[in-house]
C-alpha cells in the first residue's frame, strides 16, 4: 500500500442557518484557507473530489457550482459523490493508491437549513414500501434507540452521558454549534422529542463546509511536519431495510474496523460520526475503543452536524490530534443512510 497521509484540514463554523450565503459562498473561504495553509495552487493538485447532496440544495447538479471555489480553468481532474465528503476522501485515497495523483483536495459542503431536513432524509428510504409513508429521520433513529433500550444494551442515562461529554468537549472547538457544561440528571428531566429521544440525543441541523488535502510519500512530508498516515481505510454497507438488520449493534462498523486494522494496536483518539447519542454508544463498542481512548475531542456530530461535511470533519479532527502529537494512533468514523446503514473507518498514525 502506498503511504498516503492527511496533511491539512479547514472548516467553516457550523451554524443553524446561513441566511445569506449560498453553498458555494460557504465553501469559498474554506477552500481559500486550505490553499493558503498548504501553499498549493490548483495546478499542484492532481485530483479533486467533493461530497454534497442535491436534495439538500433542492437543485439538480448543485455541486457543479462548488467548482467556482476551486478555479477549474485550465480544466481539472475532478469527481463528486452524492454522499458525505468522507466517501469523497475514499475515492481520492484510491486515486492516490493507483498513483494517478500525488496530492488530492477533498471537500464536503451542505446547507440543510434550506429545507425540512428530517423529511428530506425520507427520500433515501425504500421508494416502494417505506418512503411513501414519509418516516422522518428522527423517528427512524428513535425506532433504533427503542430497540436498543428494550434489548437492555443501552440506557437513557448512558445516552445523556454522551451528550454531556460531547457538548463539554465542544467548548474547545470554535467551529461547534452546541456546546456547554450540562448535567445528566437535568437533561434526563427534559421532555421527550420523539420518544425515547430527547433533544440532547439528536444532533443539531448545521450549515457548513470543510476541506482536506491528502498527499503521498515525500509530498506529504513536505506539506506537513507530522502527517497523519492513513494505515487502514474501509467502508461497509448493510441492507436498506431496517427489518433485516440488527439495530442493537453496528455490524458494518465492526467489520470495517476489523478490515481497517483498528484493533491491531491501542487507539488514542476516536472521532465518531454519531448523529444520535445511542448511535455513539453502538459505534464506540463496534470500534472496540478501550478506556484510554479519547472520544470526540471536537464534540462530534452532536455539537455540529454540517451534513455532507460532518463525516469528513471527523477525519480532519482526528488527523489534527496526530499532527499536534496528542495521538500516535487515531480512528475516524463516518456514517450514511438510516440508522447507521453504511459505515466508514479510517485508521491514522503519526509514524
Amino acid at each position: 500500500m502506498r503511504d498516503v497521509a492527511v496533511v491539512a484540514f479547514t472548516q467553516s463554523p457550523s451554524v443553524r442557518c446561513e441566511a445569506n450565503r449560498n453553498e458555494t459562498e460557504i465553501l469559498i473561504p474554506v477552500i481559500h484557507e486550505i490553499k493558503q495553509q498548504t501553499g498549493l495552487a490548483t495546478e499542484d493538485i492532481g485530483f479533486i473530489c467533493s461530497g454534497s447532496s442535491d436534495y439538500l440544495a433542492g437543485q439538480s447538479f448543485a455541486f457543479v457550482a462548488g467548482l467556482d471555489a476551486i478555479g477549474a480553468w485550465p480544466p481539472v481532474s475532478e469527481s463528486h459523490v452524492e454522499m458525505d465528503g468522507a466517501w469523497a476522501l475514499y475515492e481520492a485515497w484510491v486515486k492516490l493508491q493507483i498513483e494517478d495523483a500525488d496530492v488530492a483536495l477533498v471537500y464536503g459542503f451542505g446547507k440543510p437549513s434550506m429545507g425540512d431536513l428530517p423529511r428530506t432524509m425520507a427520500l433515501q428510504l425504500d421508494p416502494y414500501s417505506v418512503m411513501p409513508l414519509w418516516p422522518d429521520a428522527v423517528s427512524m433513529a428513535a425506532l433504533q434507540a427503542r430497540s436498543c433500550l428494550e434489548a437492555g444494551v443501552i440506557s437513557e442515562r448512558e445516552m445523556a452521558q454522551v451528550a454531556v461529554r460531547d457538548r463539554a468537549n465542544a467548548l474547545n472547538n470554535p467551529f461547534a454549534q452546541v456546546k456547554g457544561e450540562f448535567d445528566v440528571d437535568a437533561l434526563l428531566a427534559e421532555p421527550m422529542l420523539v420518544s425515547p429521544l430527547r433533544k440532547h440525543d439528536c444532533s443539531p441541523i448545521s450549515d457548513g463546509a470543510c476541506a482536506m488535502v491528502i498527499a503521498a510519500g515525500d509530498r506529504a512530508r513536505e506539506l506537513c511536519e507530522r502527517p497523519a498516515w492513513i494505515r487502514g481505510f474501509e467502508h461497509i454497507l448493510e441492507p436498506q431495510d431496517l427489518g433485516v438488520r440488527d439495530l442493537t449493534r453496528s455490524r458494518s462498523t465492526e467489520i470495517a474496523a476489523e478490515k481497517a486494522g483498528a484493533h491491531s494496536d491501542k487507539i488514542d483518539v476516536a472521532e465518531v460520526y454519531a448523529p444520535f447519542t445511542h448511535q455513539s454508544i453502538l459505534l464506540e463498542r463496534a470500534l472496540g475503543l478501550g478506556d484510554a481512548a479519547v472520544v470526540n475531542p471536537s464534540g462530534g456530530a452532536l455539537a455540529a452536524n454540517p451534513l455532507m461535511a460532518a463525516g469528513l470533519t471527523r477525519v480532519g479532527e482526528a488527523s489534527r490530534r496526530v499532527w499536534e502529537g496528542q495521538a500516535d494512533r487515531a480512528v475516524a468514523h463516518a456514517t450514511s443512510g438510516p440508522c447507521l446503514q453504511q459505515n466508514l473507518v479510517v485508521v491514522l498514525e503519526g509514524n
Binding site: E18, A19, N20, R21, N22, T24, E25, I28, P29, I31, H32, K35, T42, Y55, G58, L67, D68, A69, I70, G71, A72, W73, S113, M114, G115, D116, R119, T120, L123, P127, Y128, M131, P132
Partner: protein, 166 residues
C-alpha cells in the same frame, strides 16, 4: 400454482419538499442592481478580469472576489450568435430571431440574450448592440428587464477586440 398477476408499472408517490432558497450574497447584489437597471460585474483580484454577472469567486483562479463591484455599460459586441426558429413562451420576439452572446463593454465574460429590431440577414460577429429595457414600472429582479439587444449603429468592433471571448 398461484395465478400470475399483472406487474405493477405505476406507483404514485408524490414528493413535495419546500425550500427557503437564497441566491447568495454575490448573486443577490447582482439581482438587486438589475432591479434598478444597473449591470454589475466583479473584478478578479489575480488578473483583473471582470466577471459578469458578479460572483463570489473567480472560477478560473479559485480566489474570493471582494471589493466594490464594477458597473458595466448596457452596450456591447456580439461575439457569436445562432438563429432561432423555435418559439419560446418566455421570448416575445417574432421568429426567426438571433440568440446572441454579448460582450458588454468593460466585461471579460459574455452574456446570453436575444437580438431584436434586426433582420437575421444582418446579424454578425462584431456587431455593436445596445440594451432595450422594458418600461421602468415593469422592472423586477430579472435579466428580462432587458427586453432584447438591438443594433446600436456604431461601426463593427474589430475581431481582435473580442476574439478571446468566442
Amino acid at each position: 400454482m398461484s395465478e400470475e398477476k399483472e406487474p405493477v408499472e405505476v406507483l404514485r408517490t408524490p414528493v413535495e419538499l419546500d425550500y427557503t432558497y437564497s441566491a447568495g450574497v454575490s448573486a443577490s447584489r447582482f439581482l438587486r442592481a438589475v432591479e434598478q437597471g444597473k449591470l454589475l460585474g466583479q473584478r478578479c483580484p489575480v488578473d483583473g478580469r471582470v466577471y459578469f454577472p458578479s460572483r463570489g469567486s473567480c472560477p478560473q483562479h479559485g480566489v474570493p472576489i471582494e471589493g466594490e463591484p464594477v458597473e458595466l455599460s448596457d452596450r456591447g459586441t456580439i461575439v457569436t450568435f445562432s438563429v432561432n426558429r423555435v418559439p419560446s413562451e418566455n421570448i416575445d420576439l417574432e421568429l426567426p430571431y438571433a440568440a446572441i452572446q454579448v460582450l458588454l463593454d468593460g466585461a471579460d465574460t459574455t452574456l446570453f440574450h436575444v437580438l431584436g429590431e434586426c433582420s437575421i440577414d444582418d446579424v454578425r460577429m462584431g456587431m455593436r448592440v445596445e440594451a432595450v429595457w422594458r418600461p421602468r414600472d415593469e422592472w423586477t429582479i430579472s435579466m428580462q428587464n432587458i427586453r432584447y439587444f438591438k443594433p446600436s449603429g456604431e461601426p463593427d468592433a474589430p475581431f481582435e477586440s473580442y476574439q478571446e471571448h468566442i
